[in-house]
């Protein structure tokens, strides 16, 4: 088992390295950091533009592979370079932003996955009853909506609640720096509700579809009938044997879905004006900041692979055959 995980881990590390390198090289080829400094008022001299770009290892005149080598040397010491604006290192920026995104992603994913699995199981067990039909319709609509549309609908809904006597939740920002002490933290927790709901709703829709389908496959199986025959109650048989088996295919979807959730987080952070990694991705591409693009790519790849590793471990925990192999 440990050997299995170790082998997967090494494989994943290589993939992270290649993915990050690919992002750096692609970014160096397509982005144009020079454009940031040209056409400024007052204009910068060609020599100073060159000096700035050279200092930030972003001079298009240097061959891509030379820049890549220099960047790689820094990365091996944990140094992801300076931002294109020159106001600090990319690593500092990532440290500031990673927590914001992780909070959102972990809460959203866990809430979405857990609720999605339960919704799927109950939908399958009570097939074609009102709950099943309702959850199916909702998840179809959620999966058909671009994240932008879901967010606007959620914001409109909460504003409507606020207008009709309910609590008015702030729709933008991650925290309010004017507040102090306990108020600061309660305000911060309240601000989590809408963005988490956005991601959680997507996760709920996504996982409930697959879980329902997997559960329906299991419900007709012989081993569930055997479990009932040996004297388990319906509930015991369903949870001990049914849900556990039906979870196995879902666990593999978990790793794939994480990429989708990361994309969803980009929209969520932008529209709720959270300064997280997703927003940084958009900003770094718009600002032609190659170092930042590569760092965001590295962060994303690490997260996708951690979720892949997690799904490997869960898979082994659920399916004993994997462990003995």
């Amino acid at each position: 088992m440990l050997k299995f995980i170790a082998r997967r881990f090494v494989n994943y590390l290589i993939l992270v390295f290649i993915a990050t390198s690919l992002a750096y090289i692609l970014g160096s080829l397509t982005l144009n950091p020079r454009a940031r400094f040209e056409g400024r008022n007052p204009p910068l001299s060609q020599a100073s533009i060159h000096a700035i770009l050279h200092e930030r290892n972003a001079d298009p005149a240097t061959p891509v592979l030379v820049r890549y080598g220099r960047w790689l040397k820094g990365v091996s010491h944990g140094d992801f370079g300076i931002t294109i604006n020159g106001n600090g290192t990319v690593a500092d920026e990532i440290k500031r932003r990673a927590g914001v995104s992780l909070r959102l992603l972990i809460l959203g994913t866990v809430a979405g996955a857990v609720l999605g699995v339960f919704t799927g199981v109950f939908g399958a067990v009570r097939q074609r009853k009102p709950f099943d039909v309702g959850s199916t319709v909702v998840s179809y609509v959620v999966l058909a909506s671009p994240t932008v549309v879901s967010i606007i609908v959620i914001q409109t809904f909460f504003i409507w609640i606020g207008k009709h006597g309910g609590p008015l939740l702030p729709t933008a920002g991650e925290y309010d720096s004017n507040l102090h002490g306990l108020h600061f933290w309660t305000d911060r927790a309240v601000r989590l509700i809408m963005p988490t709901l956005t991601l959680g709703l997507f996760g709920l829709a996504f996982f409930s579809r697959y879980q329902r389908s997997a559960m329906l496959d299991v419900l007709g199986s012989d081993f569930l009938r055997t479990a009932r025959a040996k004297g388990l109650t319906r509930r015991q048989a369903l949870f001990k044997h049914g849900v556990r088996t039906a979870l196995i295919p879902i666990v593999t979807f978990f790793a794939y879905s994480f990429g989708l959730l990361l994309t969803g987080a980009t929209f969520t952070e932008t529209l709720f004006n959270w300064n997280g990694m997703g927003k940084y991705l958009v900003e770094s591409v718009q600002q032609h900041d190659v170092n930042a693009v590569a760092a965001v790519a590295c962060f994303t790849a690490v997260l996708v692979l951690l979720s892949g590793l997690l799904s490997d471990v869960l898979y082994a925990a659920l399916d004993p055959r994997v462990r003995t192999k």
Partner: protein, 314 residues
């Protein structure tokens, strides 16, 4: 136990009852090709047919709808800024005087076309790469699987964002190409698995030993045998690419300025959405309805092609 011998007899063969009818039946079954059978099963499903009707209506709306109004998507009506829907402006006017109806339909045209073309290309790439990996196996397989793994590690949104500067000043067809290059992987895996089992079949082996070239075997024997999977996959991809394109264009990483798509329309209007819902909600509603109809069609098609598949239990 409760079925009488008579009933079994009825089901098993109406032939003895009336020979004429049985003749009619067998002729019917023979003339019914697989394609006709699938179509017939498809049209039996109300939800799928409803989806198809909605999709056709969307196409009609997108391409004929603009003739219903005299406003163009480039017009400015400064006198009616932010007014709601009216007989002149069907979906109202936005904050700088543009007719929302005309703009939405213009965006819908592009999004529908991008969805169809990109979905076709995605399925095409998946079919080609998957069957090459599955058919040849060995080192080719290792390389393709490795590429699939690598592309799955990087969310396609990130790669497309990095590559987006390439798009500026180029036609939207480039976007379509990039979208499909970075979204074929999951289907590619499934196709690879099918190709691996198909290559052991007698007819494939026979063709191989007769000296038929691999490209011909793939085209003549492998792909037709996965046609059903590929058709369903195409349908599902239409919805997926429309949503992906909307997301990219929303941030300016997709369709570039002279062109308008649902993504750019929604991006322009989203900051007004909570205050003036009419500016945003019509476009968003049409978009969601389109993607929804496509996914319902996909499910119905899967059932029609393979009645024992999971989706039939909806």
């Amino acid at each position: 136990m409760s079925t009488s011998p008579q009933e079994i007899f009825e089901v098993a063969g109406p032939s003895t009852e009336s020979p004429d009818a049985s003749k009619q039946e067998s002729v019917d079954a023979a003339s019914l090709s697989r394609g006709r059978l699938i179509l017939r099963r498809f049209f039996r499903q109300k939800l799928g047919v409803a989806g198809l009707i909605v999709l056709i209506l969307m196409f009609l709306l997108a391409y004929l709808g603009p003739y219903l109004t005299h406003w163009k998507y480039t017009d400015f009506d400064q006198a009616n800024i932010l007014t709601g829907p009216s007989s002149s402006h069907f979906f109202g006017v936005d904050d700088i005087g543009r007719d929302v109806y005309a703009r939405t339909l213009r965006g819908l045209q592009k999004s529908l076309i991008i969805g169809l073309v990109a979905a076709f290309l995605t399925t095409f790439f998946a079919a080609v790469m998957g069957s090459i990996a599955g058919y040849f196996g060995a080192k080719t397989d290792v390389v393709v699987v490795w590429v699939i793994d690598l592309l799955l590690v990087m969310p396609s949104f990130l790669l497309l964002a990095i590559l987006s500067p390439v798009l500026s000043g180029r036609s939207w067809l480039w976007l379509v190409l990039l979208l499909s290059v970075f979204t074929w992987m999951v289907t590619g895996r499934v196709v690879r698995g099918m190709a691996m089992s198909l290559r052991e079949r007698e007819y494939v082996l026979a063709a191989k030993f007769m000296g038929v070239r691999p490209a011909t075997i793939i085209r003549r024997h492998l792909l037709p045998n996965m046609a059903s999977l590929l058709i369903v996959d195409f349908t599902i991809n239409v919805g997926g690419t429309i949503v992906a394109e909307t997301g990219l264009s929303f941030f300016g990483f997709g369709v570039q300025p002279p062109d308008v798509s649902m993504g750019t329309v929604l991006a322009d209007e989203q900051n007004l959405a909570t205050v003036y819902p009419h500016v945003f909600m019509f476009g968003a509603g049409l978009l969601v309805l389109t993607v929804l109809s496509v996914s319902v069609i996909g499910d119905a098609l899967r059932d029609a092609i393979d009645p024992t598949s999971g989706a039939s239990r909806l």
